[in-house]
Structures are given as structure tokens and as C-alpha cells.
């Protein structure tokens, strides 16, 4: 199958399902949607991440000691990023430091999404911000819940799909600009 405007995209995140914090389901849905057009690899922390069709998911166990998992993550991110067109980074301390190191070697453009407003910012955050090609502040709506004793929330699903449509359109422009 020929895929137009196909890019090699690396998604870097500390969270991915079965994690339950809000950036996790967002990353999974983003990976699924981007994989319709692009070549997507997700580098995440976790033990047995959920599968996403058409997406290669590389997981680094969180159960290792902090220093070991940071090194392992940095190596995995470098491997994925060195041949990628861009790295889409979900903010978070445990991903930002590896991304800073990897970006200084590979020069792969980085886009950072601020999905977790509560994430701690360490001393290297500013250094990373000097390297990022662009930032993304907005997130699409969370997926509505289907509840057994209520009609399917069609209006909420339409709003959800629309929010993803706008989000992906905004990302597409930022991806193209970053690649230039």
C-alpha cells in the first residue's frame, strides 16, 4: 500500500496503557491514528504495553532502578530516533532527559506535547525546550464512556471525533514544518 506523506515518527512517553493516567490513553489513540498514514514506533516505560495494530511498541521496564531504566530508555530512544523524521515527545521528566541526550546526537526534530500539566520540570527541561522544534498545548477530548443503561452518547462521540480531526490536522502541519 502506498502511503502519501508518510513519515517515520517516534512517540516517546513515560505512560502508555495499561497505565491509567490521562496521557496513556491519548498516546495509544494517537499511535493508532497516526499509524494509518505514518510509520510509527512508540518508546514507552512499562512491562507489557497494550498492542496497537501497525505500531511497534518498545517498552522499558519501570521496575528497574531509576538510573538503569533511564539508560535503557535513552538507548531505546536513540535506536528508534536515529532513522526517524521526528520525535513526538509526551512531557515528563523521565522522558525529557533521554530526549535531550538523544536529540543532541541524532539532531532529529522534537515536538513536545504538554499532556501532563502536573509533571515535574527538572533543570534539563529548559535545555530541552531550546532544542524542540515546536510545542503542542492542546489535547483532544477524552473518549466518551458507553454506559449500559444509557443510550450511546452519539453527540459526545461526534465531538470526540471532531476534536481528534482538528488535533491531527494541527499535528500534520507541525510535523511538516518540523521536517523542513
Amino acid at each position: 500500500m502506498i502511503r502519501f506523506n508518510c513519515m517515520k515518527i517516534v512517540l516517546a512517553s513515560a505512560l502508555f496503557p495499561p497505565d491509567i493516567a490521562p496521557p496513556a490513553p491519548y498516546l495509544k489513540e494517537l499511535a493508532h491514528r497516526l499509524a494509518q498514514t505514518h510509520d510509527v514506533t512508540a518508546v514507552v516505560y512499562g512491562h507489557l504495553p497494550e498492542k496497537v495494530e501497525g505500531v511497534r511498541v518498545v517498552a522499558i521496564s519501570k521496575r528497574r532502578a531509576l538510573a538503569l531504566r533511564l539508560v535503557a530508555y535513552t538507548v531505546a530512544l536513540w535506536r528508534a530516533a536515529r532513522r526517524a523524521d521526528l520525535v513526538f515527545l509526551e512531557n515528563g521528566a523521565s522522558v525529557e532527559l533521554p530526549a535531550l541526550i538523544v536529540s543532541s546526537v541524532t539532531k532529529t526534530p522534537i515536538l513536545i506535547h504538554f499532556g501532563d500539566r502536573t509533571a515535574k520540570k527538572y533543570f534539563y527541561h529548559k535545555a530541552l525546550m531550546r532544542r524542540v522544534a515546536d510545542t503542542i498545548e492542546e489535547s483532544p477530548l477524552p473518549r466518551p464512556e458507553i454506559l449500559p443503561f444509557e443510550p450511546r452518547p452519539e453527540a459526545a462521540f461526534a465531538a470526540y471525533e471532531s476534536s481528534w480531526h482538528h488535533h491531527l490536522a494541527a499535528l500534520d502541519k507541525k510535523f511538516t514544518d518540523a521536517k523542513k
Binding site: 496503557p17 512491562h47 497494550e50
Partner: protein
């Protein structure tokens, strides 16, 4: 055999009460006359050590729950319950808070452990509420439990002294062939959803509802394990007590969560059903007469539910109704009294 076990329990209750009464007098509490939680099949139930669960009143006439034990494993269970309840309030990585009855008194009195907690009044038992409300309350409780997910080495360190952690659910050769094959082939899916806080005996007798909030009881049953362990116990229980609620919860997972999560739920249901069948099998050697026949009926019923879960079929309503009739005809009057308002 039945008489022996029951007599031993009654003697234990009388002994503990004799030790407890002067302690309560000193602390300013009294026992209520009717104590349904020591009657009926209570002498056969309980996973841990022996302990009394009694209802009493404080000096102002306010109802309280009194737990007492001089049995080493009973004391250990009470201490674990306290540790878990306190730890639950300070888990740093949980996204939601947990409500529990307030502890009013705890102490050791000459080898007798006594724990007194607030009694959570509820306007009606869980199963008497409308189905939609039951669903909403149960889902809220499960989401609260899931909000504590121990993923990193520091999370695991933080909870290892206060909660049991289950990483391996399998390695049990007493499971039936089909069940063991199903679980063995899907061990990764069980492990994938590990590290979540779960109340492994999450049934209406172990929580109470006040102002729309669920208060967890029996904190000794809280541990870190598969996300769906508590769901599985609750749904299996509801296959008997309220099948539409069981089906609604299964459907919710199917509609809103990843396919691996539905599989994980089914795996845990199979695991918990095998555990239940094995539990009732232990009753066979301890009982006689009606209670022995009831244990056999329970084994047959839960085996049928297991078969349906393995085959992904609903349990036929006539199977449930027939079992209920058998159960009610075999239950003692004392047990019927103990069951009133329990769920």
C-alpha cells in the same frame, strides 16, 4: 463432624466474649444483644484466623463494630487490616482517595486484640438499590481501586510492607484441565494488568454506602494484583444475586476498554471461580446433613458458572433459580438470620 466444628466455634465465641466484656466495660462500650455475625455458617467462613465481628454501642448509644481475637492468626489479620487502612490513606501514587470507617480504639488486652471502628449506617443494603445505582456505585469503587497502580520500583517499595502483592496467579494443579489451559495460555494478559490495588473479596458484605460514597470494610482483603481480581469476585457473586448487574459490568469493560482487558477479566473470573469451588470442597469434610448437601450444591452450581464463563455464555436463569431454591431449603434458620440485610 459438623457438630464438632460448630461446637468448637461456639466455645471459641463464648471464651472470647468472656475476655472481651471487661475490656469493653473499661473502654465504655457495650455489646448489642443480637450478634448475627457469629451465627449460621460463620464458623466455616473466613480465610484468615479466627476472630469475632460484633456490633456494639458507645456511651452515647452510637453503633460501633467490634473485632476481637486472641488467636495468633486472627490478631495478625487485624493488624494487617489496620496497616492496610492507614497505608491506603497515604499512597502517594493513587489518583483517588479511599473512604473507610473511622478507627475508634485499638489495643492488646492480655493477649486479646480489640479493634473498634465506626459503624457506617446505610439507608438500604446494596442489592435493594436500583440496578443503575448499583452499577454506578460498583464502577466508582472499581475505578478508585484502579487509580492506585504500582508500576515503578519505588511504588512497589512503598507498599510492600503494608499490602500483599500477587504476581503469579497460576501454578495451581488443582484447576480443571480447561481452566488451567485457558489460564496458562494467557499468563501474559494476567501479568499485563498486574500491580493494581484490588479488594479480592469485593462483595456487598464488605462495603457500605453513605451519602453516595462507598466505604471499604475488611481492609485485610486489599492487595496489589490483577486489576480485574476485585471485578471478577464481584461479577461472579452477582451471577447469583443480580445477573443483570454482572452482565452490565462485563458489557462495560467490552465497550470501553481494550480487548486484552476483557480477556483479563474473563481469566480472573475463571481463577476466582476455581478458588471458590476449591473453598467449598474444603467444607465437605467439615460438614454433614443439610450443610454437607449445600456444599455439594454450591460446588455443582459454581462449576456450572465456570463452564459458562469458559464458553463465553450467560448462565441460564433456570440454573440460578434452581440453585437458589436448593440453597434456601438447606440453609439453617440461623444462617438465614445472618444473611438478612448482609448484601
Amino acid at each position: 463432624m459438623q457438630k464438632n466444628n460448630k461446637t468448637l466455634w461456639e466455645e471459641y465465641v463464648a471464651r472470647e466474649r468472656a475476655l472481651l466484656l471487661p475490656v469493653l466495660l473499661r473502654l465504655g462500650y457495650t455489646l448489642e444483644e443480637s450478634q448475627p455475625h457469629v451465627l449460621g455458617e460463620r464458623y466455616l467462613t473466613g480465610s484468615g484466623g479466627r476472630k469475632l465481628v460484633l456490633v456494639g454501642k458507645d456511651a452515647h448509644g452510637k453503633k460501633v463494630v467490634i473485632k476481637a481475637s486472641s488467636d495468633a492468626s486472627g490478631i495478625e489479620e487485624m493488624q494487617r487490616e489496620r496497616r492496610s487502612r492507614e497505608a491506603l490513606e497515604r499512597i502517594g501514587f493513587a489518583y483517588q482517595t479511599f473512604l473507610a470507617p473511622q478507627e475508634l480504639s485499638w489495643g492488646m488486652y492480655g493477649g486479646l486484640a480489640v479493634l473498634i471502628t465506626e459503624f457506617i449506617e446505610q439507608d438500604k443494603p446494596f442489592l435493594e438499590r436500583p440496578l443503575e445505582e448499583q452499577f454506578t456505585l460498583a464502577l466508582k469503587a472499581f475505578k478508585a481501586q484502579e487509580s492506585a497502580h504500582a508500576t515503578t520500583s519505588s511504588h512497589l517499595r512503598a507498599v510492600r510492607h503494608d499490602f500483599q502483592q500477587i504476581q503469579q496467579y497460576v501454578q495451581d494443579t488443582t484447576l480443571s484441565d480447561c481452566a488451567i489451559q485457558f489460564i496458562s495460555e494467557n499468563q501474559d494478559t494476567i501479568e499485563q494488568y498486574g500491580g493494581f490495588l484490588t479488594h479480592w473479596d469485593f462483595t456487598p458484605q464488605n462495603f457500605r454506602i453513605r451519602n453516595g460514597e462507598i466505604y471499604l470494610l475488611d481492609h485485610s482483603s486489599i492487595r496489589f494484583g490483577n486489576k480485574y481480581e476485585g471485578w471478577a469476585r464481584f461479577i461472579n457473586f452477582m451471577e447469583l444475586y443480580n445477573p443483570p448487574l454482572a452482565h452490565a459490568l462485563v458489557q462495560y469493560v467490552r465497550d470501553n476498554r481494550a480487548p486484552e482487558e476483557s480477556l483479563s477479566l474473563r481469566l480472573m473470573r475463571v481463577y476466582r471461580l476455581m478458588e471458590l469451588i476449591r473453598y467449598y470442597a474444603t467444607w465437605l469434610s467439615k460438614t454433614s446433613g443439610d450443610l454437607h448437601a449445600l456444599a455439594e450444591a454450591r460446588i455443582a452450581f459454581w462449576s456450572e458458572v465456570l463452564r459458562c464463563v469458559l464458553d463465553e455464555k450467560e448462565v441460564p436463569a433456570e440454573v440460578v433459580e434452581s440453585y437458589k431454591k436448593t440453597r434456601d431449603s438447606l440453609r439453617s434458620e440461623e444462617e438465614k438470620q445472618r444473611q438478612v440485610g448482609l448484601h
